[in-house]
Symmetry: C2
Amino acid sequence: MTDAPDVGELRPPVRTLMGPGPTDVHPRVQRAMTGSTVGHLDPSFLEVMEEVQELLRYVFRTDSEWTLPISGTGSAAMEAAIANVVEPGDTALVPSNGYFGGRMAEMVRRAGGDPVSVDAPWGEPLDVADVRGACEDHDPEVVCFVHAETSTGVLQPEVPALTEAARDHGAVVVADAVTSLGGVELRTDDWGIDVAYSAGQKCLSAPPGMSPLTVGERAREKIRGREEPVRSWYLDLTELDDYWGDGQYHHTTPISTVYALREALRIAAEEGIENRWERHREVAGTLVDGLDEVGLERYADDAYWLPSLNTVRVPEGVDDEVVIDHLLEEYDLEIASGLGDLSGEVFRIGCMGYSARPKNVRYLLAALEETLDELNAA
Amino acid sequence: MTDAPDVGELRPPVRTLMGPGPTDVHPRVQRAMTGSTVGHLDPSFLEVMEEVQELLRYVFRTDSEWTLPISGTGSAAMEAAIANVVEPGDTALVPSNGYFGGRMAEMVRRAGGDPVSVDAPWGEPLDVADVRGACEDHDPEVVCFVHAETSTGVLQPEVPALTEAARDHGAVVVADAVTSLGGVELRTDDWGIDVAYSAGQKCLSAPPGMSPLTVGERAREKIRGREEPVRSWYLDLTELDDYWGDGQYHHTTPISTVYALREALRIAAEEGIENRWERHREVAGTLVDGLDEVGLERYADDAYWLPSLNTVRVPEGVDDEVVIDHLLEEYDLEIASGLGDLSGEVFRIGCMGYSARPKNVRYLLAALEETLDELNAA
């Protein structure tokens, strides 16, 4: 049996976070996080919960009552979405055009459903005609799509047409908004999205651990009509709604992370959600212009540009990991490598939330240019 | 659609937390939580993860490699334990002597298993002979018990005899150590516990959101031999071990909460785990002596005393909610009411982690005495 381990003081490096998340956290959010801990059923905390829900409705652009953060990370919110709307035997369409569609398929299977792939190559969005065709062929109960693919840097356009195709067949629409919420135009209600989920540490720049979710009336009806309980007790939305909506004990929500999320959402509300979308376009616009100047070739087509997550091809003869490690070690700057099929093929450069600042973009471009020059010279 | 909500500055009250958790958080833990955010695969963070695992092994008294915190609250750790070891068709014994045994049964069902109740009245521990009998009758694959029942304030004695009864029948033993880890003697390996889980915000006095779990070799074998994947992707321990053990991306763990847990565990290691158990006995000893003096009758028998969670009967003619609200409003002091069957019957008074200090106990006893006197006079 181990003796008491001798673990020293925590001394994390101070990074500039320009990867796919987490992002730089605003000092106000850090400070809010240390607000004094209260009980999870304290009247003051129930009020905080209500405020968080109200703020979440604002950023999701929804009026739905069932809007709350899941006590876990973005993948927990993804699983909450899928595990609740998918019943054993259900067919769910999932996209094949990125890493996270694959994760959705896996979660559909674990919920007892049958995932059917709507194919599109990595780097391209779904084609609405394909979704419509797959709905006709497979008559799915659920249609999932990724609004902003963190692995490819592709934004799904024509969302209202896509949801219409699904709804015409009576399917419930689940949107992965992990890398869009709070940074890229997203209109949950107007666009006909039934369930959308996200994460704290992307465009909202909260610390990870409380993950936004919203569930509209059509999805609620499906969930209420389930014949079998949700396979996860922890993520059962009916029970979670009793806690968030009525203050009935379910679990002890991460108090400090809720404080932090509240402050991050408050900052978003102060900025104004549409201004925030515009800022992301502007700042990321400078970023991609700069990447062009550095001579890096963009991976995703301009038509599907995702300001919050920019992918560029790794230049021939360059080892992506050498560049990434160099940026981290010499510049305390984080960018990321490709995920899954794109491993070694692309760099992923985030421009989200509090990280989406001209200062960060200038620093990144300078560091990247210097690094590539150095490697070329070597 | 809502306009930007006008939500003011966060101003949580400063409470003294003597309920069933969360507990007061040490200033060092608060400070660590604001350590600068880094990526979830940053080399510095992978090191932090290893340290957390090492510290968790120390407080669990285990050598098991599969020791890690779950990215969620205590109930997520409970579900991780049950969802991984229980396969569809498995029989799992669960206790009936408290609120959390009921939750275990619910999770067993959702994992596809059949829960069989080992009966004992609320307020009493399980009888080892009953566990042995139930094993003979039902030949369970899994035996669950609650080491420290947060709803009744009862400590399960004779754990090694209980685990032996289960192991004699080849069952894997799951222990709920939510209210014992870090505060009450718990020896995972020596006592033959295969899976134990806890929460951050109890005797460890971290903020909620990262929840300790340890899985020994017998349970790992059962998990590795599963025919069906775990029903939750998020809580699949094989995947989580690839992240915590090998730095392979699974989800973005709550960085700040991991920092906080690390510091809370570091404080426990500095104190020494056995000293910490002793402090809980001493400080809670003063508490129960004081409760006797105030004239409150203890609910749980002395033989099963749980220092970290003390239950006393609500005096006849007293409305428990009036007392609890008065303490919160007039003294900023949190204690809790009874859960489930004990609603209205008992007060639950925690004495955990950083809250287990003579200062808090003195304040609580004075406030409680004054409050009861006032109510009697009214």
